[in-house]
């Protein structure tokens, strides 16, 4: 355990391990990586608390989160592309002729 702490402190000071998961010094780069999980409500409570703390003090990350949500909402609007009536009619004709010719 002690060994891990020493490693952690070393990595903090040297800055050589930017991928140390969650730390009190969580950066914008790390925050951005977690935002999809945040939107999908899949973050652990600890990660969520850290992220919320960062978001409170960081305007850029706040805007980034908001615009990411807006982007995902725009995708939802794309669901259910209407199928044009003539496409439907051609599909039925195509299937009938193909399948009958196979019989």
């Amino acid at each position: 355990m002690t060994h891990r702490w020493i490693e952690w402190i070393k990595s903090k000071w040297s800055g050589s391990k930017p991928d140390v998961p969650m730390s009190p010094m969580i950066t914008c780069r790390q925050v951005i990586e977690l935002l999809s999980d945040y939107i999908n409500r899949e973050l652990s409570p600890e990660d969520k608390t850290e992220l919320d703390q960062h978001l409170q003090g960081c305007q850029n990350c706040g805007t980034f989160l908001y615009t990411l949500r807006q982007s995902v909402d725009l995708l939802k609007d794309l669901k259910e592309e209407d199928i044009p009536e003539e496409v439907n009619a051609r599909l039925r004709n195509f299937l009938r002729s193909k399948i009958q010719s196979e019989k």
Binding site: P18, T27, C28, R29, Q30, I32, E33, L35, S36, D37, N40, E42, N60, C61, T63, F64, Y66, T67, L68, Q70, S71, V72, L74, L75, K76, D77, L78, K79, E80, E81, D82, I83, P84, V87, N88, R90, L91, R92, F94, L95, K98, I99, E102
Partner: protein, 205 residues
């Protein structure tokens, strides 16, 4: 089968009937799923003509391969898989490839891990139909520019509404890989929207 009566029958029952050669049951399956298959094909190919070709190919394959469908998964997942494969074939045959690298559209960070530029808000409100329509167009263009791996996950998760585990099974990917692709694709789209509206503000101050 009268259409009202058919509407109450489960997919599994219809599939069994089709296996016995019931063409009406097949037509009922087409009625149930044509819109979803067309929607997925349209999103994959970003083109109405290609989407129609894919749609025809998909239901022909459904009829021809129904004997192979063992009912271990839902009929809808099986249909989605056929649609994805037919869509990929179409994409690969098509000459024009407008794919862009996903990394190019990710934000820049300084050495300390903070943003190097201000993040701009998107001027989207439910009341402003013009801006929403523009955003929809930019979204469709962004999807078209995504690489196949990212595009498929984005469509299945955020447009079609499948869960991460459903998508991972459908595509034969791990859940972390599915999540990571979804996240990258969302970042790509967000960046395209931000860039578009930033330039728009410059054009029309």
């Amino acid at each position: 089968m009268a259409s009202e009566e058919a509407a109450k029958v489960s997919d599994a029952t219809l599939v069994e009937k089709v296996k016995l050669g019931d063409y009406r049951a097949f037509e009922e399956l087409v009625t149930r799923y044509q819109r979803r298959a067309y929607g997925l094909a349209y999103r994959l190919t970003s083109n109405a003509t290609d989407a129609e070709d894919v749609l025809q190919e998909v239901f022909l394959q459904v009829y021809q391969k129904i004997g192979d469908f063992r009912g271990e998964s839902a009929f809808s997942s099986w249909l989605y898989k056929i649609t994805l494969n037919a869509g990929y074939m179409k994409l690969r045959k098509r000459q024009r490839r407008r794919e862009e690298s996903i990394e190019d559209a990710l934000p820049d960070f300084g050495e300390d891990g903070s943003f190097t530029a201000m993040v701009s808000p998107l001027p989207l409100s439910p009341e402003n139909a013009v801006l929403r329509a523009e955003a929809k167009r930019v979204t469709e263009e962004a999807i078209d520019k995504l690489g196949e791996d990212y595009k498929t996950v984005l469509i299945l998760r955020d447009i079609e509404g499948f869960s991460a585990s459903e998508v991972s099974i459908m595509l034969g990917l791990s859940i972390p890989a599915t999540k990571s692709r979804l996240h990258r694709a969302r970042l790509f789209l967000r960046q395209k929207l931000e860039n578009y509206f930033k330039e728009r503000t410059v054009r029309t101050p």
